[in-house]
Structure formats: C-alpha cells, structure tokens
C-alpha cells in the first residue's frame, strides 16, 4: 500500500516496476499483450503530453471512447497526469444500433461539457455528426493520431494534482435518457481503494495478489477495482479479458484465472450463472481454480442459488465457496460499500415472505415460505451506514428501509446537476435509493427503491422502455408502464411492459402480433428482452390524481395478479404465480420511490 494521496502519485510509485503490471487478452488467436507498470507510466505520460498538445488544460473534460483496454487505461491515467478530467464513455457494442448509442453519448458529452474526444479509427466515423450536435466538442481525435503528435518519451508539463481535484466523471450506465455524472475526487477514490485492499475488512491485497477481470472498464467495478486498486496496492498484476470474449465464451474467464493463477476476480451475479449453464466440460480441460481467494459478486442483486450452483459445479475444479465475497457498492460511493469477511463463507438470511412484505425481516420458520437474502457484510472503518424509514429516522435491526451512507468515499455530487445532487445528498448522508436491513452491523440488501431495472448488469430506465413501446402503432403514447420483477431463484429480473391500447383487437392472434411488435421495438432500441407484455384497455394503468403514471403501484398490482384483469393475456397467469414468491416488489410498493 502506498502513502500517496492521489492516483497520479500512486502511479508514480510503481513507475519503475518493469516486471509487474497489466496484460490484455483481446483475441483468441493472440497471446495477451503485456504492459508493465513502468510501460504504463511511460505510455500515460506520452498520452498526457499529446492531450496538452491538443490544447487540453487543467480541469477540461476529455471524453474517452476507447474499445481497446490498454489504450483506455493510458487515456484515463494520461488525462489525470495532464490535469484534465476524463469522462469514460462506453463504445458501441453492436454496430447496428447507432441511433440509441449516439443519443446517450450526446447527452453525456453535453452534460460533462467535453471539449475533446479521444477514440479509435473504427468508432470515429460514427461520431462525426456529434461535432454539429454538441458544439462544445472541438476535437475528435484517434488515440493513434493523438500520440503521433509527440515523441515516444514525451512528458507533459507538470501539473500539481491535489487530493481535492476531480479525478474523473463516472456516468451511470445504460440509460438513453439522462445518465448522471458521478463526480469523484482523488481523495474519494484513494479512501475507497485503501478500504477495498486493506487488511482489516478489505481484501488484504499484497504484492502477490493477481486480478483477472473481463469487466468493462467504463464501469466502476472494472475501472476502480481492477485499474486503480492494483496500482495503489502495488499488486502483482491484472489480466484483462475483453468483455465481448467473455460474453461469447464464458469459459475464457475461468481458463484465464487458471492460467494466471489469479487470486482476485469480481463479476455480477449473472456471470456466475452463465458459467454454470453455458460452459461445457470440454472447455474446462486442465482448469484449476484453487488459486482464487476472492470471487467477488456485486453490481446487481445477488441470488444465493446462482452462487451455490456455481460452487457445486466448480468444486471439482478446485473452487472453494469461501472465495465468494458478496458485496454492496455503487458509483456514488466510489465503488465498494460493504464486504463480508475475507475468509467467511457465503451466508444468507432465510426471511419470512409475509413479514418482509410488512417491511420486517423476520427469520422464517422451518417449512414456512421463505426468501433468501444474501449477507453483504460490514461497511468499512471510517464510513457510516444506516437504514432509515421514509421520514429519515434510523431503524433498528431487521426493519427494512432505505440505506444511507456517509464518509470519505461519498461522491461530491452529480456533475452540473444541482437538482439531482440535492436529492441524493441530504443532511450529510447519501441516499442510496436501495432498500435493506441490518443485523448486528451486517447489511442485507433487499432491492432498489428507484425503478431501475437491472438485467445482466446493465441498467435500464423504465422511461426509456416506455418510450420505445410507445412507438408501436396502436399503443396509447404516454400510457405505458415498464417495471422489473425479481423472479425468485432466477439470475435476472423479469421485465414487464404494460401498455394501454387504443382499440384492443378482438382476434387473440392479433394480440400476439402486437405484443411481438412491442417486444421487438424495445429490443431494437435498448437491446433489452421484455419478458411479459400486457395489453390493457384505455384507463387500466394506475395514475396519480395529477395523471402521473404509478410504476410501483403497477408492479404491485401485477404481482398480486390484478393488473389488466379481464384482458387477454395468455401465458401471463402462470408467470404471475411464479413471480408471486418474489420479494422486491412487495417492498418497493410499500415504501414508495425516491423522487416520486
């Protein structure tokens, strides 16, 4: 662990290390490319000099749209060395969906006030029209083009980077409407990273630790967890795997852990599920997972059944279930909030389903219907965590309420957005919008109050889904509600779209066609699969007296089987019964939403 107080100083601390550092696996046919810490330092300095050559000054925001992980890391450290504020923006994943992508990117660039964008030769042509729609952007340059302007040993004009300087902006992922720019200083990041790797309550990262990650680097878990943390704690290194390679063939993650003797990895719940269902035995020849000390799980609701299935499947390959480290975290708190003890086993609370609906997490009796809530562990030293009721009063153990946070890891606010900053930071606490309860200082997370729908680690805002559904002919525009329902025992939320139809056709076959069109529209616009489409007559959706749609009310009605009663919905009833055991919506509905 370094004594540095900024990430740039931490980087300087490993600048002489030619032996250790990162490696990048981006293709099945080529070996991983090595970039030692020393090489990283040289590359980042050159990039910083190049940025300054492009006229970038202290505090300027620089958009980074770099699919190549090595270039992206140069970019983010380089921007810091130049005194600029990096704004990571995810590259387009599917080349057929530019419109939604450009809409999202335009919003981020405007909100952040970026003047310069650094990208690669493949993405650059797509960004051309941004120059007219975001006039503040004066330069779109490729990484290669930018560094060509300076020599290989170029160094930037020294900038005195201070702990209170903004290190970068983390735009919340997934939405096409209004991503928020989480503003983090060097001090925020250093506090969180110190806690993440610390010996007490953290991962105990030493010079022997080796990380393996396929996480996208424009997401907090990938960037802070695997790009910044290893440098600060001077870990042996990290193997980065392209996220697309993982999605195509999840076994690559396990094979790389085995090959690198990886000790630390993190992933959302769904990734462990994919490894259980999609990996064939033939892909696991010679795989040995016994080196793994930490298999972190966070970023989306944790399903204990998914993790147990993974542990069962991979025990013969040396995986120890004590490696599982469920955690709770969010970008607004830099990254991590709670960890379970490094050597503790995965544990879950068996809660009486009926009591949970009443906002109390009473342990279930033997034989009674129960829901399992994973123990996410304790907050870090020097950080505060409490659970409050809707009036903001702290709740005792086992009472479910909103989780609030305090301490050095809490963000400064949302960039250029005082309104939503004030909503999130009230009375010295960060309102997480998540629901949970504590037992003897340990946190159990029940779900999100806000209406975010998280599928495969990506965030979807109901407004976006509703807008897409409204594009279909026959749908009453503005009379669509989308929400997620956590299907018990499954890896992901089920996405439900309830749409009012101007004139419901009489022929059931036409209902199928209409449902198909709505699903297709959402899929095309957001790459999101809708699980249930309900067609409703005009006026069937719950609204407030002022005519505002009530999402949580609709979800509650759906779970109880009352939404759209009497309309044609073949197949929906079985699903409703299946979902009735779910926990999130009971609580969501009973506590209401932040900002509603």
């Amino acid at each position: 662990m370094t004594t540095a107080t900024t990430l740039t100083a931490a980087l300087l601390g490993v600048a002489d290390d030619e032996a250790r550092g990162y490696s990048h696996l981006t293709s099945e046919k080529e070996p991983a490319r090595q970039v030692s810490y020393a090489a990283l330092y040289r590359r980042a300095r050159r990039f910083a000099a190049a940025l300054q050559g492009l006229g970038v000054q202290r505090g300027d925001r620089v958009g980074l749209i770099l699919p190549d992980s090595a270039e992206f890391i140069d970019g983010i450290y380089g921007a810091m060395l130049a005194g600029a504020i990096a704004v990571p923006i995810y590259p387009p994943m599917n080349l057929g969906q530019f419109d939604a992508y450009l809409g999202n990117t335009t919003h981020i660039l405007r909100q952040a006030g970026c003047t310069v964008i650094i990208t690669d030769a493949k993405v650059r042509p797509i960004l051309g029209k941004l120059l007219t729609s975001v006039p503040r952007v004066r330069t779109i340059e490729t990484y290669a083009g930018a560094i060509k302007g300076v020599t290989e040993s170029a160094a930037p004009t020294e900038v005195d980077v201070r702990p209170d300087d903004v290190a970068f902006l983390q735009f919340t992922s997934g939405s096409t409407s209004r991503p928020k720019g989480v503003t983090l200083t060097h001090a925020n990041l250093m506090a969180n990273i110190a806690a993440i790797g610390g010996a007490q309550g953290g991962l105990g990262i030493t010079g022997e630790a080796y990380g393996v990650s396929w996480l996208p680097l424009y997401h907090d878990m990938g960037l802070i967890g695997f790009v910044f943390t290893p440098v600060v704690h001077r870990a042996k290194g990290v193997r980065f795997i392209s996220p697309l390679m993982f999605l195509k063939r999840p076994a690559v993650w396990l094979r790389q852990i085995s090959e690198c003797r990886g000790s630390i990895t993190f992933a959302p719940n769904f990734a462990y599920g994919l490894c259980t269902t999609r990996v064939k035995e033939a892909e696991l020849t010679g795989v040995d997972l016994s080196s793994l000390v930490v298999a972190g799980c966070g970023a989306e609701p944790i399903q204990v059944a998914t993790l147990r299935a993974f542990a069962d499947r991979y025990a013969p390959y040396g995986f120890r279930s004590t490696a599982f480290l469920p955690c709770y975290g969010m970008a607004e708190h830099s990254l991590a909030i709670t960890f379970i003890d490094l050597h503790a086993d995965l544990t879950a609370d068996r809660i009486d389903a009926a009591s949970l609906a009443q906002k109390t997490a009473a342990p279930a009796r033997e034989g009674e219907p129960a829901v399992e809530v994973v123990n996410c562990g304790r907050p870090f030293a020097g950080h505060g965590l409490r659970v409050v009721d809707p009036a903001g009063q702290p709740l005792p153990d086992r009472e479910v309420g909103q989780i609030q946070l305090q301490g050095p890891s809490v963000m400064q606010g949302y960039w250029n957005d005082p309104e939503r900053t004030a909503e999130a930071l009230r009375g010295g606490w960060l309102a997480t919008g998540d629901l949970g309860y504590t037992v003897d200082g340990e946190l159990f997370v029940c779900g999100r109050i806000k209406d975010l729908i998280i599928v495969h680690g990506r965030n979807y805002y109901p407004q976006d889904i509703e807008w897409q559904a409204s594009q279909v002919e026959g749908v009453r525009r503005g009379n669509v509600i989308a929400f997620g329902v956590q299907a018990h025992g499954e890896d992901r939320e089920h996405v439900v779209v309830a749409a009012e139809i101007r004139q419901l056709p009489e022929d059931p076959a036409e209902h199928d066609v209409l449902r198909g069109k709505i699903s297709a529209e959402v899929l095309a616009g957001l790459s999101l699969r809708v699980d249930v489409v309900l067609l409703l007559p005009p006026g069937a959706l719950p609204k407030t007296s002022s005519g505002k749609l009530q999402r949580s009310k609709a979800a509650e009605l759906f779970v109880s089987g009352e939404l759209g009663k009497g309309t044609q919905q073949a197949g929906a009833l079985g699903l409703i019964k299946h979902l009735a055991a779910s926990r999130w919506n009971f609580i969501k509905a009973s506590l209401g939403s932040r900002g509603e």
Binding site: E28, K122, G516, L523, R529
Partner: protein, 91 residues
C-alpha cells in the same frame, strides 16, 4: 468433430437454421430465412447472439473473430462470416 461438418455456405446456413429451431425463445410467425434480421426478426439479444456464435464455432471447429461478427445483422451475414473464417483456415 469425428465427421467433417459441411462448411459450404449452404451447409453453414442449414446449421444455423437447425440451431435456431432448437434454441429460439421467441416463435415469430414469419419463417426463418437467410435474410432474417438477428434482432428485428429473430428477437435475439446480444447474449443469445453470442451463444449462437460459440455454438457455430464448436460445430465447425473455427474461431470467429469478434469484429467479424459485430457487424453482422442477418443470418446471411453470420453464415458468410463463418464461411470466410473456414476458408482462411483451410488455405
């Protein structure tokens, strides 16, 4: 593969049809053709598309580069990508 897979364009396309018949979640009314769009007509999300590609890789014993597949929009595009890789590897 104990029996060599038919890696002509028609053979690849037939394998794709066979795979989709077995695995497709949605049952759209229109028939699957070479022109079927992965998202619009077949309703495949990105994970499902990737799953199909890894299945094709196993069947034809090839590795399809990510960028080749990223620009594919229809089944014909996917089949041509596979054929292209097969021919490069055979050469």
């Amino acid at each position: 593969m104990s029996v060599a897979a038919d890696n002509s364009y028609e053979g690849v396309l037939a394998k794709i049809f066979e795979y989709l018949e077995e695995h497709r979640v949605e049952r759209p009314t229109a028939a699957i053709t070479a022109e079927s769009h992965l998202i619009r007509d077949l309703g495949l999300d990105s994970l499902q598309s990737f799953e199909m590609v890894s299945e094709l890789e196993d069947h034809f014993s090839v590795i399809i580069p990510l960028d080749l597949f990223q620009s594919a929009e229809t089944l014909e595009d996917v089949a041509r990508a596979v054929v292209q890789v097969v021919q490069v590897e055979a050469a």
